[in-house]
């Protein structure tokens, strides 16, 4: 499970066994919601210390509440007042944490959440309608478009929703690992009328 360099660990997907790939619900109508579980995501909580001015990360200035910003390396999404979620793609175990911790020094507390949060991407015209069945956010693209993010609740599950792009439109959702099964059950129920393609 550890490769020759001792850096990469094989992480089994937390989505494994939760949904089999394929079409679900009213998928014959064509205008389906595509669900893509994301694997090997690195993420962390970044919380500013009192009065500290935080440096930019990978050239990204930290966004204000309700907004996210990204480059090829990182996505930084506001998670509350002076609190952010930093997300990156497939990185060796603990690398993102070490990198950010060393960058921010004592200006912020850094907490690795790479394994605590699971990630899923939703895309398709009906996606805002599906999300509206769970969360009371106004998902109209003029209110919650690309660049917006929010911590909210879906069927009693805390989730963090990021609007990635209006093509689709496409969203990424982050939630507690233990609830992946219940979230998938909610999604299956709520998107069934539009049809689902689980990738």
């Amino acid at each position: 499970m550890v490769d020759a360099s001792g850096k990469t660990l094989d992480r089994p997907s937390p989505w494994k066994g939760i949904m089999k790939p394929g079409p679900y619900g009213n998928a014959s109508v064509g205008d389906v919601v595509t669900i893509t579980p994301l694997e090997n995501v690195s993420s962390l909580s970044l919380i500013a210390r009192k009065g500290a001015a935080l440096p930019s990360l990978s050239g990204l200035a930290l966004p204000q509440t309700g907004r996210w910003i990204a480059n090829d390396a990182l996505r930084i999404a506001a998670d509350g007042s002076r609190q952010w979620r930093v997300v990156a793609g497939d990185r060796p175990e603990g690398e993102l944490y070490r990198e950010v911790k060393s960058a921010v020094g004592t200006t912020a507390s850094v907490i690795d959440q790479s394994h605590g949060w699971v990630n899923v991407r939703l895309s398709g015209e009906a996606t805002p309608d599906v999300l509206s069945k769970g969360s009371s956010i106004d998902f109209h693209l003029e209110s919650f478009g690309p660049g917006h993010c929010a911590a909210t609740q879906i069927h009693h599950m805390m989730v963090h929703i990021t609007c990635i792009e209006d093509a689709g439109p496409t969203y990424e959702i982050q939630l507690f690992r233990s609830m992946a099964g219940s979230f998938a059950a909610w999604l299956r129920d709520s998107a069934a009328e539009f049809g689902i393609l689980y990738e």
Partner: protein, 989 residues
Amino acid sequence: MPQLFRSVSGGLINRSELLRFTFDGKDYTGYEGDTLASALLANGVRLVGRSFKYHRPRGILTAGVEEPNALVELRSGGRQEPNTRATVVELYDGLDANSQNRWPSLKFDFLSINQYAGPFLSAGFYYKTFMWPPSFWEPVYERIIRRAAGLGFAAESNDPDHYEKANAHCDLLVIGAGPTGLQAALTAARAGARVLIADDGSRFGGALLDERVTIDGKDGAAWVDAAIAELESYAHVRMFPRTTVFGRYDAGTYGLLERIGDHLAEPAPYTARQCLWRVFAKRSILATGAIERPIVFGDNDRPGVMLAGAARTYANRYGVQAGKKVVVCGNNDDIARTVADLGAAGATIAAVVDTRATGGAEDLGRPIYRNSVVRRALGGQYVQGVEIGEVGGGISTEKIDCDAVVMTGGWSPNIYVATHLGQKPSYDEKIVGFTMPSDLGEMTIAGAANGIYDTAGCLAAGAAVATSALDAMGMSGAKGDTALDVDEGPSGQIEPFFYVKDATGKCFVDFQNDVTDKDLKLAIQEGYDSAEHAKRYTTFGMATDQGKTGSLNGAAILADALGSSIADVGVTTARPPYTPVSFGAWAGHAVGEEFQPTRRTPMHDWHEENGAVFVEAGLWYRPAYYREPGETTWQESSDREVLATRGSVGLSDVSTLGKIDVQGPDAGAFLNKLYVNGWTKLAVGKARYGLMLREDGFVMDDGTTSRLDEDHYLMTTTTANAGPVMAHMDYCHQILWPELDVQFVSVTEQWAQMAIAGPNARKTLQGVVDDFDLSNEAFPFMGAANLTILGGMPARLFRISFSGELAYELAVPADLGIAAWKGIMAAGAPYNITPYGLEALGAMRIEKGHPAGPELDGRTTADDLGMGRMHSKIKDFIGKTLAERPALKETNRPQLVGIRPVDASERVSAGAHLLPPGAEQVIANDQGWISSASHSPTLESWIGIGFLKNGRDRIGERLLAVDFVREREYQVEIVSPHMVDPKGEKLHG
């Protein structure tokens, strides 16, 4: 069966689409576009139900949601639905409907004898009659009364359909899609506002579908179609037919029920039957129209007595005659249009009875009785004639044969939804009705709901209020055509008339609750001299219709009885929901296994594959025990797991314990305030047991917290309290001590955690750690360290013990949990390592006297638990002051003790109370209780822990345990709670 009451042509029904349905098992037909009520009437069916209390025959009074009488049961099996109003049930092919509250049949209902006992069954009858003996009320009287009175039956099997909840946002919510609402929606939509328009009918249009009216040369329905087509062309307009706005809540929030599949035999595949919407609107327009009032006269509930507006709706929209020979009565100009519309539909008008001496259309070509009222409807199961007399005359002067009586007492603005935030309506003598101020902050009332009853006025009002709403939101744009040319019958002139005094027969004010004028007068006599008190005494205005039809009539009767005015009496409060909302819609997705979300640990799949039987702990699924081949009871499995752990080594999944990462320069100071004991001097690399109090001095939670770095701690909580402790910390930091530089976040989900316990725990662990000294000297009890295992896997190791054994808890990043678990199982194989579940964990902690949830129940202090000495004397902490209260310092408080049965074969049961042997088993003699119990394979006996008054000084005493729930009692001996390894030698080994 031929539809004998269907007119030859006309109506908005599709006569080419014949639908079959049954009512009380009998076959009928109707047309697409019919309601159940219109189809029943078309077939000549008038007797539709039995009343709530007197079981009187009832028919169809209205054509809308306000229907109090025609309540029917739909469908069967899991889809059975009681108390639906036939007037709003859309007919579909195969609909199966039944009448309610009758036995053995609708035509012959045994309990209809109740109506002859009427003088005894008046308001308050039950309270006065069924008083003695008091013990009979619940088991005898209430059951008999409930069986006799009532409505339909709920389904007894699970509802197979799916229900949903959803949220929507808009600039303008338009409630009601009649002329006012449609014109408002068009105006706002043309200006680009996000509009959401909802109407409870199957089709938009409201009164424009019911009345004969021409707008700009088009008939009403054609104008509606054009309006709908235009609204559909706007992407920013959402249209919700079949949707009731049932509640208005704070800050522009509304509750809506969308009936997506109720008009179908079964909802379409993958589609919900109903959806409960929460709508957030910047502004709203209430355009819900008006509800027609009945006139209260003798036996005014006979099937065939109907509101005039309803009769016009049946004639104009459904092509159905309310009767062949009709008496029209009322107090306003609607009489004329009723006569015209019913005549056009082919009915004969037997007579017109007008309370007014003058006014209205003079020449209707029918006998007109002026200054006259219908005093009583004649007939039994349907109306066969009327007695009429002069207004205030006191006697009947003439009888007229007829098969229907249609009445109009005027219109009451439908303002129910506007009143939901608590504002009271006031009486407006000009329109003879209760109204609300039209401007209610974010809501504006318009059209008939605001007392404007002509179509031209409604259209103009819709445009005007939408324009104002746009202005208020800072939007502008094309404002639409406001002046439309309307042609309709006369309306407006009305003379107040509510009830016939001294009428014979029963005069119903509230049909659904069988409340008569006499009941209301009795309420006043008995001293219930306000509308709200009279409501409680008589049930006037209660039940599913909340008195939508007769509330003003009732107010008038109360006013006369009090010698007061309608304005002073007022109307009773209506509350959400405006019309009933099914439980299915309230539940939405929250049914069955997904009633609440479930949580699974990273090792869940391994547990499942290895025989785990799960138990729900909060939302978590935890292994209760692992069933091995041949084991038939949980106790066999649990005993094996305990003995294997205490004898060699066991492995348990403890990932569910709450884990909170606490960082920052003030992290230690913050913990000092949260816990009773101190944290700033805890060395890096050490763990400590901590106890937290609530502000009131009682214990809140406990757990082990470790110091990982100078400014970095890791707190653990019990599984159940992880959320509440996190919320408590947020409160403390944000409100009490915002000056502290501390950051914390839940990391429960980040780490898979497992306990390795037993004499061979160290040897097992030695097989997985990478170059880490596990010796007692290098890593003693309460050590905490970062390390790697299995050749590079990052991990955290804590030497802590809940079982009392030499034990460690190992944490790894969650996705690696299964690999770590399997690695430990492999390393422990030479020692026959045994996975153990919550039962074994519970048995071992009870053997050790460790408190858990049943002991931390919010009633216990640190001292009760034997941990009073943990309270720091040199620092302040939450709960310190109130823990010093005299009641919490009493020496006679229940203290934690161990419980052993005197007869080792006796089963100890949690929940049993401890009493002195021979004492009377009353609460005054209660000495304490058993909080946790388990079988202990180590001690070969059942054991327990519990709380006993001054228990620590009573070790060795024998008491009687009385289990009142299981009806058992047994002798127990009080022992120290530390029943296994009391000196803790094992865990330090």
